[in-house]
Amino acid sequence: MQELLSPEGLRVDGRRPNELRKISCRASVLRSSDGSAYYEQGNTKVLVAVYGPHESRHRSQVQFDRAFINVEFNVAPFSTNERRKRSKNDKRLLEIASAIKQTFEPVVITTLFPRSQIDIYLHLFQHDGGTLETCINAATLALIDAGIPLHDYVCACTAGYIENTPILDLNHTEEASPETPDLTIAILPRTQKIALLQMESKLHVEKVEEIITAAMHGCKFIHKKLDDAVSQVTKELSEKLNQ
């Protein structure tokens, strides 16, 4: 069993407990879709395309007072260490798609587009822990790129606990360890409201608050990163248009 925290207090990938992985992202990376984004956090990498709002293609799902959000999540077979092809009906994929849909439904101002549809297609290229957080951050970027009105950004981060030390942004090794409780949280940075909270492990109730606080700090940092990426694209386009 590998030590997750060294005696010096460093993690398996050399990070300090409260250190996020390196985030690199870019909006407008594809041309067919209305909006798109590429986002990587450490070695977890995801590509998102957003279409819409457009005429609904699923008649049965049409809502008369708002737009309907459709999410599809795919994983590239080469994304994991052991190659694995997943079927489109894989429960884990559907669950993540559903979590993303539920997270964005209250944030996208869907009431502006009755009877329409908005599609979010995500493709995971590389998996190294924190799939859901990465997908949410990437989807936020792609939705903004498509010019779809949002009440706020949605920023997600994970946090966990190793030997009484709260740690931020778990990688795959940490996530896979059965002793490490981990939690994914997504917040709306403007109001500080929680948009999503998921934990699938046992944790003492007193410690929950501590790691939620840690994760929220992570979210704020990610908000800054996303906002910078959005501002940069907006500025570039504005300059090109006014040249």
Partner: protein, 317 residues
């Protein structure tokens, strides 16, 4: 959605234009769009490449990742020693076209996967399958070729084959040490160990012989190469010819059943394909040489990032 709709007058415009030898974007019948390609972009794969066939950031965009994994020999596999050593899988992502959502791409995925499989599995592929064998009748390497179609603007087959060839050329097979031990019954047993050193990994033998494909699309009474999406919608029949660098034909497939070719037209079409393939080989080589120069420049800049999946997305090419 109207991506796949075309009016009768647009159809007529495209068809008549090809008849006159000038396509809607000004190209001649045998002109290709701009090709861009980058290798080694997925760090966890043994080889990878991303290619875009189109102009100014638009076009068909394909990402291929190759993983080498060890397959165990099971009884009955020996019928055809070279079969199933390369496993091909093509997925069209809905990011390319909304029609690919859900099960919408199943048919085209299957068609492209099978096509790729037939081009690669067998001696026509050109790579040395003996290299994939670790211990005869016991263990061998399986190459998983996984392709993603991320953006779509026609002519997927030729783009797919170019990306795959570039990704296979980029593939490094980990070094394996085989040891022979005699057990207590006096039977010779062989065991192997994979050396965990990227420096020791070896490129695929025969990677330079991998063929490319040239697909001729029949529109009206003429044929063209490298169709855009709208031209593809006007296509009546399609002939894919696979040609290796020596100019030998390694495979032919006719698909799309709206109409057929006259047998008398075939010899000329094959000749055209051969000629176009040599054009493509040159294009691919030039583009790969250019991209490796680009990587060189990054190092000079003191940029310590390894090329990874991000490089082509974060710094668009």
């Amino acid at each position: 959605m109207s991506t796949l709709l075309l009016s009768p007058v647009e159809r007529d415009y495209i068809t008549k234009g090809i008849e006159k030898g000038i396509r809607a974007d000004g190209r001649d019948r045998l002109d290709w769009r701009h090709l861009q390609i980058r290798q080694s972009i997925i760090s966890q794969a043994n080889g990878s490449a991303r290619c875009r066939l189109g102009n100014l950031g638009f076009g068909t965009d394909i990402l291929v990742g190759i993983k080498a994994e060890i397959g165990q020999y099971t009884q009955g596999d020996s019928n055809n020693p070279s079969s199933q050593k390369i496993v091909c899988n093509v997925e069209c992502s809905p990011s390319a076209m909304q029609e690919f959502e859900g099960r919408g791409a199943d048919e085209v995925n299957l068609e492209l996967s099978q096509l790729l499989d037939r081009l690669l599995n067998g001696p026509q592929c050109g790579i040395d399958f003996d290299q994939l064998c670790i211990i005869p009748k016991q263990a061998y390497w399986v190459l998983y070729v996984d392709a993603l179609v991320l953006d779509y603007d026609g002519n997927p087959i030729d783009a797919l084959m170019m990306t795959t060839r570039a990704a296979l050329a980029d593939t490094r097979l980990p070094k394996v040490v085989v040891e022979s031990i005699t057990d207590e019954n006096g039977v010779l047993q062989q065991e192997f160990e994979v050396v965990d050193d990227p420096q020791a990994a070896e490129p695929l033998k025969g990677r330079d012989n991998i063929p490319l494909t040239v697909t001729l699309y029949q529109i009206g009474g003429n044929y063209v190469v490298d169709t855009g999406l709208q031209e593809e919608l006007c296509t009546k029949a399609r002939l894919t010819v696979s040609v290796n660098p020596a100019g030998e034909i390694c495979g032919i497939q006719k698909s799309h059943t709206k109409s057929g070719f006259a047998p008398s037209a075939l010899p000329e079409m094959l000749k055209v394909s051969q000629k176009q393939a040599s054009v493509l080989f040159t294009k691919l080589e030039n583009e790969l040489a250019k991209s490796s120069n680009d990587n060189q420049m990054d190092v000079d800049d003191g940029d310590s990032f390894e090329p990874d999946t991000g490089s082509t997305f974060l710094v668009p090419f």
